[in-house]
């Protein structure tokens, strides 16, 4: 099996579907964005058992986290969210942050230890932790 040197491959398409074959496995389908993370050996980090979908690399995670944050803080659609936006800057207090963490745990089927919850202050930090926890599965 050829070693893959790139650590990340991303595709974006506005058309409905994109499917990719590699190593005789169907990787994923997504309407608008497919992100693939490849480890050096070409083994995929993790596969959800409920759907044939990979725990995606940062961009999709970031998007999902942003959605959860928007919902929890009831942000207006105009409110700009960047991965670096701090929850506190959006008006989240400690109860909101805890609810956000809970929402992330439910969405990604992970468990965040209390010591780590303090490190989740931005969307990017949440996405990074989620990917790390997903990788471990």
């Amino acid at each position: 099996m050829a070693a893959v040197s790139a650590t990340c491959v991303r595709f974006r398409t506005s058309s409905a579907q994109l499917s990719i074959r590699a190593s005789n496995q169907i990787i994923g389908k997504s309407a608008s964005l497919v992100s693939l993370g490849w480890t050096r050996t070409g083994v995929f980090p993790c596969i959800r058992t409920s759907r044939l979908q990979i725990c995606a690399a940062k961009a999709e995670t970031v998007e999902k986290v942003s959605e959860i944050v928007r919902k929890q803080l009831a942000l207006s659609p105009e409110t700009a969210l960047t991965p670096q936006t701090k929850f506190s800057e959006l008006g989240a207090d400690s109860l909101d942050t805890v609810e956000i963490v809970m929402g992330l745990e439910e969405e990604f089927n992970i468990s965040v230890e209390e010591e780590n919850s303090e490190n989740i202050t931005t969307i990017q930090e949440a996405a990074d932790l989620i990917d790390k926890l997903c990788d471990k599965k």
Binding site: T85, K86, L90, D93, M102, E105, E115, N116, E118
Partner: protein
């Protein structure tokens, strides 16, 4: 030179604050503001003016006018409140410096010389978009938390409690059949737990909520409610810590209030000289509603401050 009414000239260069005496040991002062009542642009500018450059930057980084305002008022409240106690003649709201302890809890960094020793003044702030509060004590760690009474919780109360609260607290909440009452007891419990970890100075991750139980002492099923004709003992709130049984937890006392008819406020302070027979040392609480530089109103004993438990 400003040409407004002479009141402005009065605090153009040295805004006036009504001085107050430091709280006695076992006494707590609570100061609060309602952002909706502060409308004057020039007053907001005065507040911005007393902040440190770093605080100003943080305030302006908040997303949206309402958030910026409550962040600004929180800092202005802390600075003006501490300055009121006139610790020495050189302290002004602007001159105060703050730092964080090793766990990240803010404290005053006193600028002092060899022959002056600062008092052991402790403070803690809490804010929601509709109320900003600052508690002050002497010689006693303090933590406060305020929440809107009608705050919405996105998750189911019991799911949330199972995830974050102790087993005892889950059972307490699960036993409440009315969902409205359950939600309000949840919020009261949350404020008490927050106030406790803030008093400890360790923050949420330093003292995970699952590792301690807060409960009403004598009549746990009644929850955190004002008991008619109850004695001091009956309404006492206590904390049991699984990590540090007995010794540390008997050092803390709690007050739970309803503030301005709109918020629950929990205050946790250190108890000194705590021993088996000493448990019911009464706590004195004085509450002011303030708009710094403009007006202060002592609201203790009025409808604005309703004790739920602990006094």
């Amino acid at each position: 030179m400003k040409l407004h009414c002479f009141q402005r000239a009065f605090f153009h260069s040295s805004p006036s604050l009504i001085p107050v005496q430091l709280p006695a040991p076992m006494e707590t002062h609570l100061w609060y503001m309602k952002p909706s009542e502060v409308k004057s642009e020039s007053l907001l500018k005065e507040y911005l003016d007393i902040l440190s450059p770093c605080e100003r930057k943080n305030v302006l980084q908040m997303g949206g006018e309402e958030l910026r305002k409550s962040a600004l008022l929180a800092r202005a409240l802390v600075r003006t409140t501490i300055a009121r106690y006139q610790i020495n003649s050189e302290i002004t709201p602007r001159s105060l410096k703050f730092r964080k302890n090793i766990h990240g809890k803010p404290e005053v960094e006193w600028q002092y010389s060899d022959d002056w020793h600062p008092p052991s003044l402790h403070f803690n702030i809490s804010h929601t978009s509709s109320l900003v509060a600052c508690g002050v004590t002497v010689n006693s760690q303090i933590g406060i938390d305020v929440e809107e009474k009608h705050r919405s919780i996105k998750h189911n109360v019991l799911s949330f409690a199972r995830r974050y609260f102790s087993e005892h607290e889950v059972q307490f909440l699960a036993a409440i059949s009315d969902p409205q009452v359950q939600r309000m007891e949840f919020i009261k419990l949350w404020t008490l737990k927050e106030a406790y970890v803030k008093a400890l100075g360790k923050g949420f991750s330093g003292a995970p909520f699952k590792t301690f139980t807060i409960r009403s002492k004598s009549v746990p099923e009644e929850g955190f409610n004002k008991l008619e004709g109850s004695s001091l003992k009956a309404s006492e709130i206590v904390v049991d810590s699984f990590d540090n049984p007995t010794v540390l937890t008997s050092n803390w006392q709690f007050l739970l209030l309803e503030l301005a008819n709109s918020h629950y406020a929990a205050i946790c302070t250190e108890k000194h000289g705590a021993s088996e027979g000493d448990r019911n040392v009464p706590v004195k609480l004085t509450v002011w509603k303030t708009i710094p530089f403009l007006e202060d109103e002592c609201v203790s004993g009025t409808d604005a401050v309703k004790t739920i438990c602990g006094l």
